[in-house]
Point group: C2
Chain length 208, copies 2
């Protein structure tokens, strides 16, 4: 019996190249989960095969701007002329339904989410060593040395923000990391501050 | 990879009759665990079959009194002329070895432990309903109504101390409750405040 019946917003973050996407995928393969993705909203055009409401919510620049004014994003950012944001209303609806909403997001975005949703669970994914991350960043594409260097420096700046998160999970093994995140979600539901109200309600029942 | 290599002191507590002992037993049946019991110290004589250092540490009244003076107990109590206490040094040794030390203790004792070991993990076990606990308390022995009433009133007073714990776990199903405690232990190891020092040490490694 789970005392806290509302879902949790679980923010999975960490430096680029650390394997956030792979871990998220492994997490959704856990049987009998009640996870759902946080679907982002964007002004960019859908690519072939992308479905509105599944891959993204596709909206016009005008609608995006209106939603910014109405404070309807947990965070948003602009990237080469297009906007990307996390709509609040979708997440709140899913949390009320008791779903765990899994958000995979880079470090700056995660810290913006934290400002608006301090009760969410913030997990920082780290590589098993600096070398492991460096290897991943250099193997990733066809970029030149300077681009790789830029990435490594960004990752190093982000490392130092780990203290702003609730949990640190090492990605030494994907299944292991996903399993640890699942344990964190279960534990968070049992936390006294999330469950005590329901508990006292349970105890109000009369004894015969 | 577990960033925090020290063991955790896990305090399992809750009102009498809630099934703490059964849950503790189920917890130790989890495969590949590195749990160990917190072995209490007592002045009472060993019963047949009881082994010193396993069931209890058996000591004289003199030794117990000396240890009280030396502040070597996390908590102790007297019961019909005999003393029972939780020795600090044994627990610290096991934690240093990386063992999770599982302590099953009644509510008053747990709150004393909290004063000395605020970094321990405090879990409050609750029945799925007030009725369920009442049923267990009344079925337990051959006591008369007044003794049952006394127990129920004690349990009701203890209910109200749930807010002093870190987690509330419902004992609706023993395996489930043990599994949730295991999730809590894993999550606690990943908590930023327990793991960040090791994490930064890991990141100090040179990149090639």
């Amino acid at each position: 019996m789970k005392l806290n019946e509302l879902g949790l917003l679980v923010v999975i973050s960490g430096p680029s190249g650390v394997g956030k996407g792979t871990i998220r995928k492994a997490l959704f393969e856990i049987p009998d989960n009640n996870f759902c993705y946080s679907v982002s909203m964007t002004t960019r055009k859908p690519r072939e095969g992308e479905v509105n409401g599944v891959d993204y919510f596709f909206v016009s620049h005008e609608e995006f701007a209106t939603r910014i004014k109405e404070n309807r994003f947990l965070e948003y950012a602009e990237f080469v002329g297009e906007y990307y944001g996390t709509p609040k209303d979708y997440i709140e609806k899913k949390l009320d339904e008791g779903k765990e909403v899994i958000m995979e997001i880079e470090v700056q975005g995660a810290l913006k989410v934290r400002e608006q949703k301090p009760e969410a669970v913030f997990i920082f994914i780290v590589p098993p060593s600096k070398q492991a991350l460096y290897d991943r960043l250099t193997k990733r594409g066809t970029e030149k040395g300077i681009e790789i260097q830029r990435r490594v420096e960004k990752a190093e700046r982000e490392y130092n923000l780990a203290y702003k998160y609730d949990y640190i999970v090492v990605n030494d093994d994907v299944a292991n990391a996903a399993d640890r995140i699942y344990a964190i979600i279960r534990a968070e539901h049992a936390k006294t501050e999330r469950s005590i109200h329901k508990y006292y309600k349970l105890m109000e029942g009369n004894q015969s």
